[in-house]
Symmetry: C2
Subunit: 345 residues, 2 copies
DNA sequence: GGAGGCCTCCAAAGCGCTTTGGATGGTTGC
DNA sequence: GCAACCATCCAAAGCGCTTTGGAGGCCTCC
């Protein structure tokens, strides 16, 4: 069943049927009624491809996922998509996913534009100074960045968590408990979020006049072994940390594995705070959560980014929008006062 | 730059240009040369939407991701998509992602078909008797299942790992090491893969005449706390297991956390074998991997499923294709002989 | 030398929708 | 009573590609 057939059945022109269905004003209320009823009855659904060709709008959002040299795919991404996807389907948008080698990422955006495949894109994991933002502005493709880079924030649309403040608060929390040797297991610091987290950590130390020790800071892919290896390493040194801040639960689990092997109890012998993206397969809940954590829902961010982008696409005014989310600091079982003997370690 | 403009520049008809670019035989070799050169020079890329409308083919693969009641999104999915996505981009297919509530999954497939949005779909995580296979056959949409359900295997296309054999081998391996109390931490057993794993485990026990103890079998979402909680529970009972088989590294990490807290060394006091989907963010490598594991690459499965589906779509003959992959059994540090005192526990 | 065949190329008709630019007929205002 | 004006509807021209059904020219073969 297509438009023409439906029109014939109704003894109307395709024009009128199209307008009736798309809510244009120049059609009689009764006619519109008849048309919508018939459409429902015969199960008419407009061919999206034809619609796209005619309107030039694709009703599709693009997500370009680079596969980096180390072949690591960001586990956070699936959760983000779960959130964004919910919103897409309620507003009947599609999303297309381009998984490409990092080196071909720019090309991927260009073809997306050249082939008019998408009305807009979401940019994931921005780097310190991210060329993709320039590229997209140049291409004139609407976009929302999940995160920020370093340019003036008013120049583009983004949604970010306050990474600096979250890690400042986490560090402060540990300082309040008497810890002075606090390690940071961070993500790769060319990613802007990681750089900001580092900043927050460092700011907190500086404010209290606690010396910054580079030997306590690690930055790498946020996988479990990062937590395990760096913890084993630090705890084998003299003057080890009494507290560890990690950038993801995965890393925190690695820390726990290392401390477990050494017979240390987290929350007593050593304190751990992790950032928690609230991933569905890494729960940190219960009456008293396993980890004390700064928490911000990535799925929620996905939902909101999708909404922002669709709003931008659909509105005439394309002025940038921003949202800065604060993370919760929730107390769990993994933190406690600094052990007396180690207090000024 | 569109076809017509390019044709004008070349002083050729759109017909000929189109044919030259799409490799039809009825065009002179020199002409074809000229056309492709010009296309490259002017950066001409055919409008995919127009192409789709004209051909009726969408060059797009669909992935419908149900969000289940527990709001858990399958972490394996991202990795699968990384593999599939690689292949899509090299063969210049797109993939669209529909994230929908579980209850609306059938509708999602129907609209995909009604709107001719995809040429085929990949079905993820099939259940014991999966209605989606019936639905897709009824809708006449080409599809490949990642996994199998319980119907005759010749009736549809699938790629699966030999879950039964993998878990049979894992169980055998532990039995060979003298273990007799072997626990299984499985996924939800309405998923076919989990049911088959259970089967393999049970078959191995039966063959050796080792009694099957339901108290040693858990089935739930494969998250870290499943490993932790069930291990704590089992080890608190009298007659605890001396070995544990888990369905994912995430669960195995939970086991390790529990045993770590109890001061048990894996590979000595307790043995652990896990299935390893070879997820990029859960590495289990190194000279001697942390876990002894049955391993099969989900990313590889993604690649292959995508290829199979595209082949099916592009070939005239649509007879079902199947592939059954065997998992490797790689030995790591988490297994060892059953401690003497517990040998016939 | 004319029929038949092959190699190249092209005009034009779709694919299914939107949208521009009227047409039609009934109302309104003076 | 006539012009101006709505409210409704429609014909037809795209959107950018593919594909059908030739057409024209040259070669071959008897």
């Amino acid at each position: 069943m297509n438009l023409k057939e439906l029109a014939k059945l109704l003894e109307l022109s395709p024009t009128t049927v199209s307008r009736a269905l798309n809510g244009y004003p120049e059609v009689n209320a009764n006619t519109r009624e008849r048309v919508t009823a018939a459409a429902r009855k015969y199960g008419y659904a407009p061919n999206q491809v034809a619609k796209r060709l005619a309107t030039g709008r694709s009703h599709t959002i693009g997500h370009v996922i680079p596969i980096s040299g180390h072949q690591m795919i960001n586990p956070i991404f699936a959760e983000f998509m779960a959130g964004a996807g919910e919103v897409y389907s309620t507003r009947s948008y599609d999303s297309i996913l381009s998984v490409v080698p990092e080196t071909e990422e720019a090309d991927a955006y260009r073809t997306l534009v050249a082939n008019r495949k998408v009305d807009g894109v979401i940019v994931h994991g921005p780097h310190i100074n991210d060329y993709r933002i320039d590229l997209l502005q140049e291409l004139g493709l609407p976009f929302v960045v999940h995160g920020r880079d370093t340019r003036p924030e008013s120049e583009y649309s983004w949604l970010d968590m306050n990474n600096r403040r979250a890690f400042l608060r986490a560090t402060d929390f540990l300082l309040d408990l008497g810890h002075r040797r606090i390690a940071l297991l961070n993500g790769i610091e060319t990613h802007n979020f990681a750089a900001r987290r580092h900043q927050g950590y460092q700011d907190a130390l500086t404010r209290r006049g606690v010396p910054y020790d580079p030997a306590l800071v690690f930055a790498a892919d946020m996988v479990e072994p990062l937590g395990y290896d760096s913890t084993r390493k630090m705890l084998a040194d003299d003057n080890p940390p009494t507290a560890i801040i990690t950038s993801s639960i995965m890393v925190a689990l690695g820390v726990l594995r290392a401390t477990g092997e050494l017979g240390l109890h987290s929350g007593r012998d050593i304190s751990i705070i992790t950032h928690d993206d609230d991933l569905s397969y890494l729960p940190n809940g219960g009456a008293v959560p396993l980890f004390t954590a700064t928490r911000s829902s990535v799925r929620g961010a996905g939902r909101r980014c999708a909404e922002m982008l669709m709003d931008i696409i659909e509105s005439a005014d394309r002025s940038p929008q921003h949202e800065l989310w604060e993370a919760d600091l929730t107390v769990g079982r993994s933190t406690g006062p600094c052990p007396e003997g180690l207090k000024y370690g």
